[in-house]
């Protein structure tokens, strides 16, 4: 009998401990072990002040991320926290599924909310409520194969950027000169090779903005403007006139050495660890309207339906404090001004020189975030067939862009 009592007491004790422990579930789209190790390290730091809290990072593949996350929310099994891209943010804010973490951030000692760059917070703040904090504010930059440039005796984009002659026309001319069909080398590869499909906006918006155009401003489509059309014509010429860009229906891969130039974010530097060619980084080229750095952004959010809302907000505050943002800066350029301006940011990634990281820092300071809208998925669907119509040799670009604006204007 005494033995039974001891066992029962021990079981009650164990159950009591289990009941007081909290588990936060955090969805991310990275499967990179380096990223997950870093995130788990941050979670361990949080456990120092919250010993009963564990944080579990669930990876959902990038392509399915929004769909699976939405199903979890709709199915009553929401994560506590998650990552969210800039083009999803307005729809999630509008739907009311994100928790307002403003009070927690402002109430956390040493958080220094004012240190977060105000333009970077634009998508995540609405009516004094704070629905997330960007952990990655990453400008698009040009990667180039320095070995190919040196072999061709061409001035590199870095050198041209330094003397102010790095333009989209110059990139076009370089790509045409470096194209070597016999050797299987293409000139310019679009973003992740998806510039005619999933990443058509990422592909065209930097060129369009450098020409003085834009996707839309104040609810008015500007893709049919003279500047936007001129920019699209430049890229269309790269595909069909001089063959300097990898065309639709072909696979080029800069990171395998079979394309001379591409546009990507700094996180892609991890794909260059074992390549057998020299490479370099340059800012996006300028256009007739000057330089137009373009930024892709992702934020940390807490979900309103999460079971541990307050704890989730506390972890969000911890994850985006100065120390942890400095740790994450190795992979994800920060939105914190103090970290961005620090020397440690410039040397945070050993594969990137401080001079190269300076290009990233400048892009963040001067750039603007990719277009976003609360109805972006619908806009994307309406725009898709019109963008598709651009990719033929005899496409009427002005007419196509006019139709594109006509189709998406009702959604803006």
């Amino acid at each position: 009998m005494i033995k039974r009592l001891i066992v029962a007491t021990a079981l009650c004790g164990a159950m009591g401990t289990a009941a007081s422990a909290e588990n936060l579930r955090f969805t991310v789209w990275t499967g990179s072990q380096a990223h997950l190790d870093m995130l788990n390290g941050i979670a361990e730091g949080f456990a120092e002040t919250h010993p009963d809290v564990t944080v579990q990072f669930d990876t959902i593949p990038f392509g399915d991320y929004v769909q699976k996350l939405t199903l979890q929310l709709a199915g009553g099994n929401p994560p506590d926290l998650g990552w969210l891209l800039e083009n999803s943010a307005p729809a999630f804010v509008e739907a009311g599924v994100l928790a307002d973490v403003g009070d927690t951030l402002n109430g956390t000692d040493g958080y220094d909310y004012g240190d977060l760059s105000e333009p970077a917070m634009g998508l995540w703040v609405k009516d004094d409520a704070v629905y997330g904090v960007p952990f990655s504010t990453s400008p698009f930059i040009v990667y180039y194969n320095k070995s190919l440039y040196d072999a061709a005796g061409l001035e590199t984009p870095t050198e041209r950027a330094a003397d102010g002659s790095w333009t989209w026309d110059q990139l076009k001319s370089d790509a045409a000169a470096l194209r070597d069909a016999d050797a299987g080398v293409w000139g310019y590869e679009t973003v992740d090779g998806q510039g005619y499909g999933a990443r058509v906006w990422h592909n065209l918006i930097p060129i369009i903005r450098a020409h003085g155009g834009d996707a839309w401003t104040d609810g008015t489509c500007r893709l049919d403007s003279e500047q936007s059309v001129e920019a699209v014509k430049l890229f269309h010429d790269m595909v069909y006139a001089d063959g300097s860009a990898v065309p639709p229906g072909e696979q080029g891969d800069f990171f395998s050495g079979n394309a001379a130039l591409t546009v990507a974010q700094i996180s892609r530097v991890s794909k260059l660890a074992d390549v057998d060619f020299d490479w370099g980084i340059a800012p996006l080229p300028a256009g007739p309207a000057g330089e137009a750095a373009t930024i892709g952004q992702a934020g940390v959010v807490a979900f309103a339906q999460g079971k541990n809302k307050e704890l989730a907000a506390e972890f969000l505050a911890y994850m985006t404090n100065k120390d942890n943002v400095a740790i994450m800066a190795a992979f994800f350029p920060p939105a914190r001004k103090s970290v961005l301006e620090s020397e440690s940011f410039l040397s945070s990634n050993p594969a990137v020189t401080p001079e190269q990281m300076e290009i990233v820092a400048e892009g963040i300071e001067t750039g603007s975030v990719l277009p976003s809208h609360e109805r972006f998925p619908q806009i994307e669907a309406e725009a898709r067939p019109d963008f598709d119509a651009l990719w033929s040799e005899d496409a009427d670009i002005q007419a196509t862009m006019t139709k594109l604006c006509k189709d998406i204007q009702p959604l803006l």
Partner: protein, 299 residues
């Protein structure tokens, strides 16, 4: 008289019925929970305007159906694409499956290897199949166009030209799925007694006449089954479209199943997507019943 000698009060028939229900109850439970339940739910959701993300829902009656059928040109375009896909895939698949089955149903050296080769794509991952064909169908450097260039043909940009994309997806889908129909036809051919063919030959019938008068009529039940599953499968096609064209170019391959996915999970219009799913269900049901009736009428 003891109870053991009188036996249980239930009759043998009743006891067998109970045992039967108990045996099927696990699969029946799963069927009710995972098929009938969701089916009823979809009918209900199709009468609502339901945003999957915000979880806001309101009853709208038949508005989603009216919107799809009368106010939305995209629906008819998408439905047309689905029918074109089925009309292209079904005859091609069945003719090829029958041809392969006739060739590989006779005893010959290496027949097992050939059957395996043609059946292997069926069990190959759809993702791997689609990715490999995307590479093979590249415009300049793809193996298909390089092979065509050897005989002086300048191949098109298969997956990026509206006129060619649908045909490309149909053919690659046929090559992926034809093996299953081939095996069904081989199994059916092996049930036809050899005596019929021998008797016909003694009567002077040639190969074509034997096929037309004996083989084809005796394959009719199998042909009906194959036609039904191929039509249903082609109307539900999703993975090949998702992986090879994403519905493009210029919506040329945007079929109903993919459109339902986009409406429900990308645009969060879950009520509208449910109505489209019901339309697809009714379409498949109608075509299946039609095929059954045509078969019955021929008897």
């Amino acid at each position: 008289m003891s109870a053991a000698r009188t036996g249980p009060s239930l009759t043998l028939r009743t006891r067998e019925a109970i045992a039967g229900w108990l045996f099927v109850s696990p699969i029946l439970t799963g069927f009710l929970i995972f098929f009938v339940g969701p089916l009823i739910a979809v009918f209900y959701y199709s009468t609502t305007e339901w945003n999957l993300l915000s979880q806001q829902s309101r009853f709208v009656g038949m508005d989603n159906y009216v919107d799809a059928l009368t106010a939305n040109d995209t629906f008819w375009h998408v439905l047309g694409n689905s029918l074109v896909f089925a009309a292209g895939l079904v005859p091609l698949n069945m003719a090829l499956a029958l041809g392969l089955a006739l060739a590989l149903s006779k005893p010959m050296r290496g027949v097992v290897i050939f059957r395996t080769v043609f059946f292997a794509p069926v069990i190959t991952s759809a993702v791997a199949w689609a990715i490999i064909w995307t590479f093979l169908l590249q415009h300049e450097s793809g193996a298909v166009n390089q092979a065509l260039s050897v005989v002086g043909v300048d191949g098109p940009n298969w997956l990026h030209e509206p006129n060619w994309a649908m045909a490309s997806v149909i053919v690659t889908r046929v090559l992926k799925t034809v093996g299953l129909n081939m095996i069904l036809y081989i199994a059916a051919l092996q049930t036809i007694p050899r005596d019929y063919e021998e008797a016909a030959r003694l009567e002077g019938a040639n190969g074509w006449e034997i096929f037309r008068r004996i083989t084809w009529p005796l394959l009719a039940p199998t042909t009906l089954v194959i036609m039904v599953i191929t039509v249903v499968g082609s109307l539900k096609v999703f993975d090949h479209i998702y992986l090879m064209t994403g519905g493009g170019p210029q919506n040329a391959t945007l079929v109903l199943a993919f459109y339902i996915y986009e409406q429900g999970f990308k645009f969060f219009n879950t009520g509208y997507a449910s109505a489209l799913a019901v339309v697809l269900f009714v379409l498949i049901l109608a075509l299946t019943i039609l095929q059954m009736l045509l078969k019955a009428a021929r008897k």
